[in-house]
Amino acid sequence: APLSEEDAPSEITTGAFAYLSKYGYIRNDNPQASTIRRLEDYHSAIRNFQQFYRLPETGQMDEETSRLMSYPRCGMPDVIQRGDQDQTRFRR
């Protein structure tokens, strides 16, 4: 679920967070996670996205990452998530 305005640190953009969640980079199974944890998840998700598409792994929403996310796309997630954390992975 998107962060509320109160919870969301300024460096998290709701759109990017939603995008990363929708396409499998962020798990939504812990809505009670702390803000710090969410921030970590967010940057980790960006890094995973960058790694998946071989972009420079900055962990930040840089121009190149943002441009790629702006393209229209297929609605299927990039990352297939299974029941438990251990099985969350990129299916190569």
């Binding site: 071989r54 229209p72 299927m76 190569r92």
Partner: protein
């Protein structure tokens, strides 16, 4: 590419078009969908047949917003379509967001080419997930209609790893793939009789090169059917009898032969290759190349010595070359090929010389007991 793990258990796939978008005529839609299926049927044993009034394997529909599957579309832009991996019920079905403006044979920023989107979605319908190769059809992003579209290495590799190759192209195929139509096996080539020129672990498959041919292997001891295939059909411009090959940390494929090396992006040679091997700081005629995971280090072997090259820095590491016997205990000199292979649990390094191979234990730093063994028997299904 990624493989969902789901596949159809039959080759004659049926599809049913449940409705049409008003953006195009029914004839245009049917033609785009037929062309999209043909992308996949041309390179696999699969056939696609349209059915009416009876359930099909793949149901195709155009819908807006919430359309009953729990995954709502988002209006114009954003998500264009989605599809389900093979299976019963909704499995295999492809849904197109009717808020998009679909077109055919038109490169227009405001419109989406139905053939391009459908070809991608049907890839999901057949079991492929998203590719991290941006240029691949199975990459999720829609960039533009490509009038020169042809299925690339990554997609071809992916779908053929699930369904195998189309060994009997049908007459009248309109879509002629520019990439490999593997040739019939060459009876003169005895995969078990000699050693290999080079072996490389590329995109999670083992590629074994001998003379002008290569074999592919997904599982140890089970070379894919339809091989060997001539290297030149796959990697255009590559000469036969290469010395070594490896997948670099960035996904590029490097081939070495004699005093030169070639770099390929998938099946396409990068511009300005081949280039002289002395740019690596290496002599001609290396025996083998061994990339070391994502460290960016690559080991090169020749005769009794080896080098360690830093791919990020583009230079040989200091202190090299060194004698093979200094750090690779039990590994012979004058190898034919070397590769690293993931067996599902851990990585092992294998050295091949003539018809024998040695398994090197990375944690112990020495060749495992019981080696060398017969490579053909253990790896190539030879008796």
């Amino acid at each position: 590419y990624s493989d969902s793990g789901d596949k159809w258990d039959h080759e004659d796939i049926t599809y049913r078009i449940l409705n049409f978008t008003p953006d195009l005529t029914e004839e245009e839609i049917v033609d785009a969908i037929e062309r999209a299926f043909k992308v996949w049927s041309d390179v696999t044993p699969l056939t696609f047949r349209r059915v009416f009034n009876v359930p099909g394997d793949i149901h195709i529909q155009f819908s807006e917003y919430d359309h009953g599957d729990g995954v709502a579309f988002d209006g114009n832009g954003g998500t264009l379509a989605h599809a389900y991996f093979p299976g019963n019920g909704i499995g295999g079905d492809a849904h197109f967001d009717d808020s998009e403006i679909f077109s055919v044979f038109l490169s227009d920023d405001d419109k989406v080419d139905l053939f391009m989107v459908a070809a991608h979605e049907f890839g999901h319908s057949l079991g492929l997930g998203h590719s991290s190769e941006i240029q691949a059809l199975m990459a999720p992003f829609y960039i533009a209609y490509d009038p020169e579209f042809s299925l690339g290495y990554d997609d071809l590799h992916g779908i053929q790893s699930i369904y195998g190759i189309n060994s009997d192209p049908r007459p009248g195929d309109r879509y002629i793939p520019q990439r490999p139509q593997p040739s019939p096996p060459d009876p003169e080539v005895e995969r078990c009789s000699k050693s290999f020129n080079a072996v490389a672990f590329i995109r999670n498959e083992l590629f074994l090169f001998k003379g002008k041919n290569f074999w592919r292997m997904r599982e140890q001891g089970k070379p894919l059917e339809g091989y060997p295939v001539e290297m030149g059909q796959f990697w255009h411009g590559l000469p036969p009898k290469i010395d070594a090959a490896y997948e670099r940390h960035d996904g590029k494929i490097v081939f070495l032969k004699g005093s030169h090396y070639w770099i390929y992006e998938g099946v396409d040679m990068d511009p300005n290759y081949p280039r002289p091997l002395h740019e690596f700081g290496l002599p001609a005629d290396v025996d083998g190349a061994l990339p070391w995971g994502r460290t960016g280090k690559t080991y090169f072997f020749k005769g009794e010595i080896y080098w360690r090259y830093d791919e990020y820095e583009n230079r040989m590491d200091k202190g090299y070359p060194k004698p093979i016997k200094e750090n690779w205990f039990g590994v012979p000199n004058n190898i034919d090929a070397v590769f690293r292979h993931y067996d599902g649990y851990s990585w092992n390094t294998y050295f091949i010389r003539h018809r024998r191979y040695w398994r090197f234990d990375e944690s112990l730093g020495q060749v495992d007991l019981g080696f060398p063994r017969n490579f053909g028997v253990d790896w190539m299904g030879c008796k």
